[in-house]
């Protein structure tokens, strides 16, 4: 049962797909509790179901069975509009391929969640500047994403994820497209953000060494299941 210290509670969550007549069990009976202000790394090989689990937590998909409670909200009970509001206000997401809109400048990309959250126009420039400062990219405000390096693009994506001041940050392979030095810089930034802003971070990755260095806890998945029933602490991993 979730308590006040629990940010995300997964109870026997399953997600299965039907593809060409076959049923694929992407996530199979996963129960997991993630504490507030925790940095959890979700590890596993390709197809292990970690990204599906992340999408379920993000409210982009709904589980076939089981329940997900995030920040006190039972996602199963939310309508599609409420779920959209949940994604807008409670969740921030970053992706492996950054997913910045190439037609927009950095400022416009970062402003997008503010538009969706219907934040007052006069408040927006300050909020954009604030997050760009946090990722140290204020000087690139008017640039387009294609004019930036991969690391810079991921920092912009982090800024965009943070602009609505979410409580939970979900990262899907955030270092997958970056070289190791840049990847580390990005993770370092994520950890700083988590500590300074008091956020819960769930990061999907298959780079175990990096995860062990920056995450508070590791959870390993395989074939849709949470392999380790007990939580894996960093000390144990080392």
């Amino acid at each position: 049962m979730p308590n006040a210290e629990t940010a995300i509670q997964l109870d026997r969550v399953s997600r299965q797909y039907t593809m060409g007549g076959a049923t694929i069990q992407a996530v199979n009976d996963v129960s997991l509790s993630i504490a507030r202000n925790e940095f959890l790394a979700l590890l596993g090989s390709s197809g292990s179901g970690k990204s599906t689990l992340l999408n379920l937590i993000a409210g982009l998909d709904r589980p076939t069975s089981g329940s997900i409670t995030a920040q006190g909200q039972n996602l199963a009970e939310l309508t599609s509009i409420e779920l959209a509001r949940y994604r807008c206000n409670t969740i921030g997401m970053i992706f492996q391929s950054f997913n910045l809109l190439p037609r927009m400048t950095l400022e416009e990309n970062i402003e997008l969640p503010l538009r969706l959250a219907e934040v007052a126009r006069e408040e927006r420039p300050g909020r954009v500047h604030e997050v760009l400062e946090r990722v140290r990219l204020t000087h690139r405000l008017g640039h387009r994403p294609t004019e930036l390096s991969g690391g810079e693009q991921q920092r912009v994506a982090i800024a965009r994820a943070l602009v609505n001041r979410p409580k939970i940050l979900l990262a899907d392979e955030p270092t997958g497209n970056l070289d190791s030095a840049t990847g580390e810089a990005v993770l370092s930034l994520l950890r700083d953000v988590q500590r300074e802003l008091g956020m819960t971070i769930v990061m999907v990755t298959h780079e175990r060494p990096l995860a062990e260095r920056y995450a508070d806890r590791l959870a390993i998945m395989g074939d849709g299941k949470l392999l380790s029933a007990s939580e894996i602490t960093k000390e144990a991993a080392q």
């Binding site: 982009l60 959209a84 994604r87 997401m93 997913n99 969706l116 959250a117 965009r160």
Partner: protein
């Protein structure tokens, strides 16, 4: 999302694929243009016909005659209803009718047979007095020479057929004089009481031949005084005031003698009452009938004319809409293509918190904006097309020595209706793509490369 943000994003999206969206918008514009051009021709022709007809005075004029007028030999007199006693159509009556609401003018028809002497040859014809207001009636548009210089001038305008009788070169008649021979009424003193058992009928009048010299100032090809009320076509026109002062003997004079109506008052065989607009004719006609006169107008003919043009406009509208229907398919195609291209973007928007309705509205607004621009451009193109058709027609008419006409007309209601229609059609075209975009699964969309 707020409307302004939606509009911002929609404009931005449209700008990004500027060529494709411009071409789609152009498609809408061509559709609207064909619709507007067709409708403007319909409206233009209707206006042209209405203008000609209203200028003819047929549709805003009520012809008033006394109720117990002669109806011709062998035809029974109309029954006079007891509650509406027949009244004499005299000067009092004329003034009373003039005071009715929505009456522009009331004038008598002065028409009489005459013998015209020109180059010492006699020509018999009917003379009609024309009110000064007929100057602007359109009947005299394109006439040779000029309209009367003043309402009391001793001048004449000849109908072309009559002018041809006078001279082989009708144009040469302008500026020449002709002599009008007519019969003037001269009132006789009242009969002596002793010789009249009934006591006091008026003395009647004698008819004296008179002559008047008129200067020919113009020749007209239309028939501004086409006969109504059975008086025949007048082929020599003169100012009404001048004609009235002649006191020429008219058709009703004999009747008045018999009926003893001549007592010191001018009576009229008929009066023409011009209403401010054809829409007021019906009420006015009823009022005049209630006063005890016979009245008729050609309103019914005008009604069927309106029905004809309504059907005509509808048909033109349907043909014009075909191009717009094709343009609609263009919008559907463009937006469906945009969904494919922007699949990932839709996924990102949803991941960032866009509701299905936000995505739907975004595509909807994009379709609406294309409709709006297409509508504006289309109205402009349609107007230009109408002008071009009018220009071409007038070049042809000029070659045929005919007067130019205004063939197309784009009234304000058509401008607004066309733009609103373009937006509505575009929104309808955007329905399917918008709902398809809204239903896109964000997980699939984010995975899409």
């Amino acid at each position: 999302m707020k409307t302004r943000d939606l509009a911002d994003l929609a404009f931005r999206n449209l700008r990004e694929a500027i060529l494709r969206n411009a071409l789609t918008t152009l498609g809408v514009a061509v559709g609207v243009a064909s619709l507007v051009a067709m409708m403007s021709l319909g409206v233009g022709l209707q206006e042209l016909a209405s203008k000609r007809l209203s200028q003819s005075g047929l549709f805003d004029t009520i012809f008033v005659t006394p109720k117990n007028n002669f109806r011709g030999i062998g035809r029974p007199q109309r029954e006079v209803e007891a509650d509406k006693p027949a009244r004499t159509l005299d000067e009092d009556a004329r003034q009373a009718i003039e005071k009715l609401p929505n009456v522009i003018e009331v004038y008598s028809q002065v028409r009489f047979f005459t013998e015209v002497r020109f180059n010492n040859k006699p020509f018999a014809t009917v003379v009609a007095g024309m009110p000064d207001s007929s100057r602007n009636s359109g009947s005299f548009d394109g006439m040779q020479g000029n309209f009367f210089s003043s309402p009391t001038a001793n001048e004449a305008i000849l109908q072309i057929e009559f002018a041809k009788d006078l001279s082989e070169k009708p144009a040469s008649l302008i500026g020449q004089d002709l002599v009008l021979r007519y019969a003037e009424r001269q009132a006789l003193p009242a009969n002596d009481d002793s010789s009249s058992p009934s006591g006091g009928p008026s003395g009647g009048f004698s008819v004296v031949p008179k002559e008047l010299r008129l200067k020919i100032v113009g020749i007209v090809e239309t028939e501004p005084a086409a006969g109504y009320g059975g008086y025949g076509n007048a082929r020599l026109l003169m100012p009404l005031s001048t004609a009235s002062t002649l006191r020429a003997a008219q058709v009703n004079d004999l009747r008045d003698i018999v009926r003893d109506n001549t007592a010191n008052k001018t009576t009229y065989p008929s009066l023409s009452v011009r209403a401010k607009s054809p829409s007021q004719v019906e009420t006015l006609e009823a009022s005049i009938k209630a006063m005890g006169f016979a009245a008729f107008s050609l309103l019914d003919a005008s009604k069927s004319l309106r029905t004809f043009f309504s059907v005509f406009d509808l048909l033109l509208g349907i043909f014009g809409s075909l191009a717009l229907a094709v343009a609609t398919l263009g919008i559907v195609n463009t937006l469906v293509m945009a969904i494919l291209e922007r699949r990932r973007e839709i996924g990102v928007l949803k991941a960032l918190g866009a509701a299905d309705s936000d995505v739907q509205q975004l595509f909807f607004v994009e379709a609406g904006v294309m409709g709006l621009f297409g509508g504006f451009l289309g109205v402009l193109f349609g107007w230009l097309l109408g002008r071009a058709i009018t220009f071409g027609t007038n070049v042809y008419l000029k070659r045929q020595n005919l007067n130019p006409i205004e063939l197309s007309s784009v009234p304000w209601w058509l401008v607004i209706a066309a733009i609103v229609f373009a937006i509505l059609v575009s929104l309808a075209a955007g329905l399917y793509p918008a709902s398809r975009a809204a239903k896109l699964n964000p997980v699939d969309a984010l995975r899409y490369e």
